[in-house]
């Protein structure tokens, strides 16, 4: 009772008639206008259209909806509409809406200790109502009529009784119309769409039983019918092939259950973005879980690569605190080390049991290898490479012809990966991919600085199918891509078409390039550094790969170009391109000369 009194008192103070505008004495402390205070508080929860979508869809999930439709205009800046078929609200409930801390989800302090719903603070709708023009239409389950309420800039309109289907519809227009500073800093439409799509991906992954649809500017982005399992939902997002190779994990302890799917180490990602971790149905980022994931793949992934995981943790609600951060992204466990240990063990178990499947052609190779090995055991002499066996007649062997073209230059390709080159003072061992990569990167950059780049149009344009966030990310990059000569356009749902490429990238694998680019991007799709990312991805995928045989002419060109450019010691990612061994070092190794002194 006492608590209520103080709160009442506080409310009184706020509504008392202070001289608010203009403040006659700027230096004096005064209470904020409730509207201003509301806007500030709203800013903590509602940062951008994504936050609105997230809050509204979470409400729909909490309302027990089996279908949720999201419609957006202009990346949510024009309109965000969320329709669900959940339990809906009675007119009385509706009239309570938009009051701060009005919620049906918790009522006592003890409830905060054991939150089972996604939302709980009662802040979301109130905050959204303050910074937009919101209309809400709801009909409680089993009722014949519903009610409608509008709020603009925090001002509530009249409650109207209207006919409506069961469930709730929320329309948010003109987000941040009254917070120009915030509105100005909203990102470009594709950026916002990528972010919204990512948020919905997370919600949809944790609720495979719900039918989700997303439409943007009246075009369908995705339509996810209810899936019997999480794995099916993963498949609808990332493709059947992707889902086929997933490893199942499961570990159950009295207070915590860890289950989900992980990808074998051979398929990793360029960032930690493909680590989806959920706690009690909510997407979370928690340092102990992330660490355990990374740790379980240790020594299985090359550096800079991250595992792809979908983890679903179920814990006793009382053992975790989700009320740490307004966005509820962060959580705190009572016993973090226990969680770490259990996740680590679950993943390690799955990874140790996993044996890679061998494709038919590899099986053939394996069979042949075994033949070779038996031959070796019987003492059959290892043959010299055919190139050394043939003489005069150049017609008989292609290998032979290439050898004859070899200029007398002292270099050789080894293991189809490195070029070993004689220098006046020793030898250079050059990583062919890293060197080519920095050369392409530098050349592309130079051409851009010169202001012109030769662009080869494609006779047969390449179609690349993407998931929705990557699709929006790439569309957001259109301008940067065009600057380097890659014309990219939308081509139907989640598909892009590549119509031209810089001429100098003759062997660019377009699909690989687009994939690489999406991995590098995360969410930023604007600014100069993005152009740099595009260049790096182009250079990386346009460069000759390791394992690829180069003919001497190609090696010669590569080395000559290197000599004409500065700063080629490291590839754009910072890996070295060249290892130099001096004659002295070689002499010392072979004990040819005793070092002086």
């Amino acid at each position: 009772m006492k608590k209520t009194e103080t709160e009442m008192g506080k409310t009184k103070e706020v509504t008392s008639p202070w001289p608010l505008t203009p403040n006659p004495c700027p230096g004096r402390i005064h209470l904020l206008d409730p509207v201003v205070a509301g806007k500030i508080a709203a800013g903590e929860v509602i940062e951008r259209p994504t936050s609105v979508v997230k809050e509204l869809v979470e409400n729909s999930i909490d309302a027990g909806a089996s279908r949720i439709d999201v419609e957006l205009m202009d990346g949510g800046k024009g309109l965000i509409k969320v329709i669900d078929n959940g339990v809906g609200m009675s007119p009385e409930d509706l009239s309570m809406l938009f009051l701060k801390h009005a919620t049906s989800k918790i009522s006592e302090l003890e409830d905060l200790e054991a939150i089972r719903t996604l939302g709980f603070r009662g802040e979301a709708l109130a905050s959204i109502g303050v910074v937009s023009h919101t209309r809400i239409l709801s009909c409680a389950r089993g009722e014949a009529t519903g009610a409608e309420l509008e709020v603009k800039g925090g001002k509530r309109g009249e409650l109207k009784f209207v006919g409506a289907p069961e469930g709730t519809l929320v329309e948010v227009r003109e987000l941040f119309y009254n917070v120009p500073a915030r509105r100005k800093f909203l990102k470009a439409t594709p950026t916002e769409m990528a972010s919204i799509s990512e948020v919905l991906t997370k919600l949809a992954l944790s609720h495979p039983e719900i039918h989700f649809t997303l439409a943007h500017n009246q075009r369908e982005v995705f339509n996810l019918p209810p899936s019997p399992t999480v794995k099916d939902r993963i498949a609808t997002f990332f493709g059947q092939d992707f889902a086929k190779e997933l490893l199942f994990i499961n570990s159950r302890e009295p207070t915590l259950e860890v289950s989900g799917y992980i990808r074998p180490p051979a398929q990793s990602y360029g960032s930690a973005r493909m680590q989806y971790t959920f706690l009690n149905g909510r997407y979370v980022r928690e340092v102990n879980i992330s660490h355990a994931v990374q740790e379980s793949y240790r020594n299985l992934l090359p550096s800079g690569r991250y595992p792809i995981v979908f983890l679903f943790l179920k814990s006793e609600p009382s053992l975790v605190d989700v009320n740490v951060h307004p966005t509820k992204l962060e959580v705190r466990f009572r016993e973090p080390s226990k969680v770490h240990g259990q996740v680590l063990k679950a993943l390690k178990n799955a990874l140790t049991q996993y044996t890679p499947k061998i494709s038919p052609s590899l099986q053939e190779a394996a069979r042949l290898t075994s033949i070779i090995q038996t031959q070796d055991k019987t003492g059959f002499p290892e043959g010299l490479p055919p190139s050394l066996l043939q003489t005069a007649d150049t017609q008989t062997s292609t290998v032979k012809r290439e050898l004859q073209r070899t200029p007398s230059g002292p270099f050789v390709q080894i293991h189809r990966t490195y070029i070993v080159e004689e220098t006046p003072k020793g030898i250079n061992i050059v990583d062919q991919h890293a060197l080519h990569e920095i050369l392409l990167y530098t050349e592309l950059k130079n051409k851009i600085l010169e202001g012109q780049i030769p662009v080869q149009r494609l006779l047969i344009p390449e179609l690349v199918e993407l998931n929705s966030n990557d699709f929006f990310n790439i569309i957001g990059l259109q301008e940067s891509l065009a600057r380097v000569g890659a014309e990219v356009e939308e081509f139907g749902q989640n598909t892009i078409i590549v119509r031209s490429l810089p001429q100098m990238l003759k062997d660019l694998d377009i699909k690989e390039f687009i994939k690489d680019l999406t991995e590098r991007l995360k969410e930023e799709v604007e600014g100069e550094h993005v152009l740099d990312k595009v260049l790096k991805a182009l250079a990386c995928k346009g460069a000759v790969k390791s394992g690829c045989r180069l003919d001497p002419q190609e090696i010669q060109t590569l080395l000559e170009k290197r000599n004409s450019l500065q700063a080629v010691a490291r590839c754009p990612h910072g890996r070295p391109t060249t290892l130099f061994l001096s004659v002295e070092e070689l002499d010392r190794h072979f004990k040819r000369r005793t070092p002086k002194g």
């Binding site: 290898t369 070779i372 055919p386 008989t396 006779l459 003759k506 000759v544």
Partner: protein, 368 residues
């Protein structure tokens, strides 16, 4: 096995197999040839699992039937160095014995059971093409295949029988070459598949080295060919070949007739003043003339006038000179017909009925 024959007979057959074994380096048995003596003939085989070639060794005297698998490089080398015209080979256990004035050589062989099986050729359901025609068609398209590293189906040549003629298509996504050829005979058959570049090149080689017409057929997963003493089997590339007909523009209204050799010479000269990073020439169409231009900041400028038959509007269009030269080389001499529409759309180069080439232009994009 025991057989004897002229050294040159054996060598000429081995010569056809050399390119097959030379392609592989990791698996020793694929660097070997199988020599099989049956009744009164001998057959040599080599394969790298993608392509296989079988060649009759003829004439030959077979004293004892049997099979031996020997390292191709060493065998060829040894026969070349052999001082006598006639050779005699026989197996001793797993070894193969070659002896005479040149010395006594026992070569270790592989187990014939381990040698991969190459499908055999039967004439049934095949089409017949003259060797010249086939070789000519291959020459007109094979250069346009995509390099190994990009789109897989484009690394091969599409073989298709349509409208009673043979067609070949190759593209790397930037330009496309199309050739038509007459059949010399053969019954009804369906030929529609993508042959790997290696298979196409070997086919051309066999057609050149053997006499008479070439028989061709497809069995769904393989291209099979027979020419004289040799047969070839090449795996087909699985997948959907791009719709090439869609890539051929239908409304190019600026039509030029030029002398292929003269145009090629002009382009070659202008190309000297380009670089690898800016490999670009411009064609400027004017009445009665094409001006071939190159302009490379760090290298210089070139301008070559070529007289042509043209009466349409002026047009300026950029190209990778190599792409134009490839097509002109395939045309060799005579008149080339060029058809353009605009500076950003595909151009056509063709010669009469048998060769059509579509090439996309290059433009300079402003990067700022």
């Amino acid at each position: 096995m025991k057989l004897s024959c002229q050294k040159s007979t054996m060598l000429s057959s081995l010569q056809l197999l050399g390119p097959v074994t030379a392609g592989t380096t990791t698996k020793p048995i694929l660097q070997a040839v199988k020599l099989e003596a049956i009744d009164d003939k001998a057959v040599l085989e080599a394969t790298d699992l993608e392509v296989g070639v079988r060649c009759l060794v003829e004439p030959v005297e077979v004293q004892e039937a049997g099979t031996v698998v020997l390292q191709e490089g060493r065998l060829t080398e040894l026969l070349r160095e052999w001082p006598e015209e006639k050779i005699c080979m026989e197996t001793r256990g797993s070894m193969c014995l070659l002896s005479g004035k040149g010395g006594v050589f026992k070569m270790a062989g592989y187990d014939p059971e381990e040698f991969p099986v190459i499908p055999t050729f039967s004439d049934e359901g095949s089409v017949e093409v003259s060797a010249d025609e086939l070789e000519g068609m291959i020459k007109k398209v094979v250069f346009a295949c995509a390099s190994e590293r990009v789109r897989h189906t484009m690394t091969g040549v599409l073989f298709r029988e349509e409208g009673g003629e043979l067609r070949m298509v190759a593209t790397d996504g930037r330009r496309l070459a199309f050739a038509r050829g007459k059949k010399s005979g053969g019954g009804k058959t369906t030929m529609d598949g993508i042959v790997p570049r290696r298979g196409v090149e070997l086919l051309s080689r066999i057609a050149t080295h053997q006499e008479g017409n070439v028989l061709l057929k497809m069995d769904g997963t393989h291209l099979l060919a027979k020419s004289g003493k040799a047969t070839l089997c090449s795996q087909l590339i699985e997948g959907q070949y791009p719709n090439y007909e869609e890539a051929v523009p239908k409304d190019n209204d600026k039509k030029v007739e030029a002398d292929a050799e003269g145009l090629a010479a002009a382009i070659r000269r202008a190309t000297i003043l380009t670089t690898a990073e800016r490999h670009l020439i411009k064609l400027k169409l004017q009445k009665g003339m094409i001006v071939v231009e190159a302009e490379t900041p760090e290298v210089g400028e070139a301008m070559v006038d070529v007289e042509v038959k043209y009466s349409g509007e002026d047009l300026e269009i950029g190209f990778n000179p190599d792409f134009l030269l490839d097509a002109l080389k395939a045309i060799e001499k005579g008149t080339v017909q060029l058809e353009f529409k605009g500076p950003a759309t595909a151009a056509i180069m063709k010669r009469s009925h048998d060769f059509l080439y579509v090439v996309m232009p290059i433009r300079l994009a402003e990067t700022t």
